[in-house]
Symmetry: C2
Subunit: 362 residues, 2 copies
DNA sequence: CGCCGTGCGGAAACCGTATCCCATCGTTAC
DNA sequence: GTAACGATGGGATACGGTTTCCGCACGGCG
């Protein structure tokens, strides 16, 4: 406990050590390293040699305390193993690294407590922005919670970015990067309808999840547009996972076995649905068609390859980071609440082999 | 450019602001917040109220400069979208958050340049440890490179952890968390052999990748143990992706079509292989058996569900973090090069539905 | 009533770096 | 020849906390 300095010799080299050993001042070393001040070639050489000898690296904490610092973004994600969000994270991380920014990643596990704790932790770190990934549960409290985050971060000179969530209401200092969720669902459902399907099992996801709400709404609109009655009994809610897809189809086969297609809220859900159909002796797509959503790699790896909606996840990540970077460079001149606060990216249907007209066996 | 203080009022609140507003000294505020010094109830209340009013959070940079700081681990990963490594990352992140540690994530994209840059960046951040994820390419240079990283980090009071890579040779200050790669492959190949398969297509991965080398070796040992001649012509190297699995099977069907089973180096490779077999009109497992490696969720989502080798990825992540934490608490008393430097976790075969004895149609 | 111990709050010294301001030196112009 | 000037390097200070060292006030006891 007491010997705090026991490992003193193992501590990292400071800029003072370098200065001393090179026989120059601390200021000169700093200038050589940051390179934003003219120094003589001789000085540079002397300093750099010592830097190499000592394997010196600047202390990022001290640097950012003194004002220099590397810009940092924080990525907060529910579950890092979810393929879709992993792609967004990749987009953010790639774009960040490209401009020399650093990225922190935290996982919330869908726990509001942890989300709060992490936002505060990131605030402590002085991040330039906090990027929140993934659909949100639209509790009454949600809007207030996010608005509080947004203001809190804004007051600290940071910024909140919502990716894949609906924008916040009112004059809240946050940026939203979204995709045309409802439109994708509309197009996907239209694809099924135009193939002749009328009885479609819909598995949009959790009823409270904003993503699921949008996907369901898009499907409903498509049914309307085609003049096909939409049967609420054909909708089954549940989590975005394989098991739900499997169980929902199992249950539907028992309750309403006349469906000829499955509109899954997610590729993973589609995979589960496909498996359940097979287990029941049904063929895909000969007996039942299936479509997914997200277009993660799994979609093209299933048999048959899945027709699905492509969502530009990685691009969204890049866009999110760009929005933050622009805002940061735009600086004081830009007002919050400006036009760029809500960015929407397009989606499109990717046609593969999991859809056929109904009743066409063989 | 010039108006550096333009946004002055937007800057975050400092501990001094809190102290002033609460009418107490800076030291008192610090003591209330860190809680490692007795303060009166009255003082605590006064300070906490102001903290809430101002939405104050401590500046992590200043704190860690002054010695307080939150311990941080860095996770360096080739590709965040790879399922296996994502699980390790999840394990590390979860264990880190559990003890209040922070985790940084960086992706290297298999680029040694970026790897170097990131290690240095992390060193600047003063991380407690750098955790390198994933199989390594065993170039001559690799050992030297890692040894340099290890010493460099060690000198800065940090530590290098290799996860899923072979341990470093010699007296290098690094910890390795590994799994029984070769043993898993041995068991998996034995499973096929005991089912009666003799002609097995082996897709171990890239020839230079240490993971692939181990998996191939394990398979070879199993063949030896069973007294079955191992045909090098049945081995096809390539990347751990879906396309490689597909193309390798396609090529093998042309060159050596007498194989009755596929031993894939990865579940994803197995998925590709399965697809190629189907495309050629072969059934799995009736005509050809397939096994994978890793036991990622995909394995149980394929049709048929894949028999594979379970690798405790998430556990490895947790173990890696625990190793770092222990070392940190063990402190100066522990010598580098101690026993705990190489941890090996077990693997086991998970039997599902993708294997049948050869020649048993129906 | 005075002394001393105790508990709590304040002033100040760092942590490692960037930057401002000034001193110095060599150079050029008058 | 001297003054003014540009190019560099050094010293000092600020960044926002933590922590050590002190001093003060209060209470109990002799």
């Amino acid at each position: 406990m007491s010997q705090r300095k026991a490992t003193s010799d193992a501590g990292r080299a400071t800029i003072r050590d370098v200065a001393e050993r090179a026989g120059v001042s601390v200021a000169s070393v700093s200038r050589v390293l940051s390179g934003n001040y003219p120094v003589s070639e001789e000085l540079r050489r002397r300093v750099m040699k010592v830097v190499r000898d000592l394997d010196y690296v600047t202390n990022a904490h001290a640097r950012s305390l003194a004002g220099g610092g590397t810009p940092t973004v924080a990525i907060l994600i529910n579950n890092i193993t979810g393929a879709a969000f992993a792609h967004v994270a990749k987009g953010v991380e790639g774009a960040a690294t490209l401009r020399g920014w650093l990225s922190l990643v935290g996982t919330t596990g869908d726990d509001p407590e942890r989300e709060l704790a992490l936002v505060n932790l990131m605030r402590q770190q002085g991040v330039s922005a906090v990027i929140l990934l993934g659909g949100a549960y639209d509790y009454d409290e949600y809007q207030l919670r996010m608005a509080r985050f947004a203001r809190s971060l804004d007051a600290a000179g940071s910024h909140l970015v919502l990716v894949g969530r609906p924008p916040l209401e009112g004059d809240v200092p946050a940026t939203t990067v979204d995709y045309d969720n409802e439109g994708g669902a509309y197009a996907m459902a239209s694809h099924l309808l135009s193939a002749g399907h009328r009885r479609v099992l819909v598995l949009p996801g959790h009823a409270e999840l904003t993503t699921a709400q949008g996907r369901l709404k898009g499907a409903q609109r498509a049914f309307e547009a085609y003049g096909v009655p939409f049967d609420p009994g054909m909708v089954r809610h549940g989590p975005y996972d394989y098991e739900h897809g499997y169980e929902a189809v199992e249950a539907a086969l028992h309750d309403t076995p006349d469906f000829t297609a499955v509109l899954a809220g997610t590729d993973v859900v589609a995979a589960g649905a496909m498996q359940a159909l097979r287990a029941a002796g049904l063929r895909v797509p000969e007996d039942v068609s299936i479509v997914g959503y997200d277009d993660i790699p799994l979609a093209s790896q299933l048999t048959p390859q899945l027709t699905t909606v492509h969502v530009p996840y990685e691009e969204m990540g890049r866009v999110a980071l760009r929005a933050v970077a622009d805002r940061r460079e735009g600086g004081a001149g830009r007002r919050k609440g400006a036009d760029g606060d809500h960015l929407v990216l397009g989606t499109h249907v990717v046609v593969r082999n999991s859809v056929r007209p109904p009743g066409q066996h063989g």
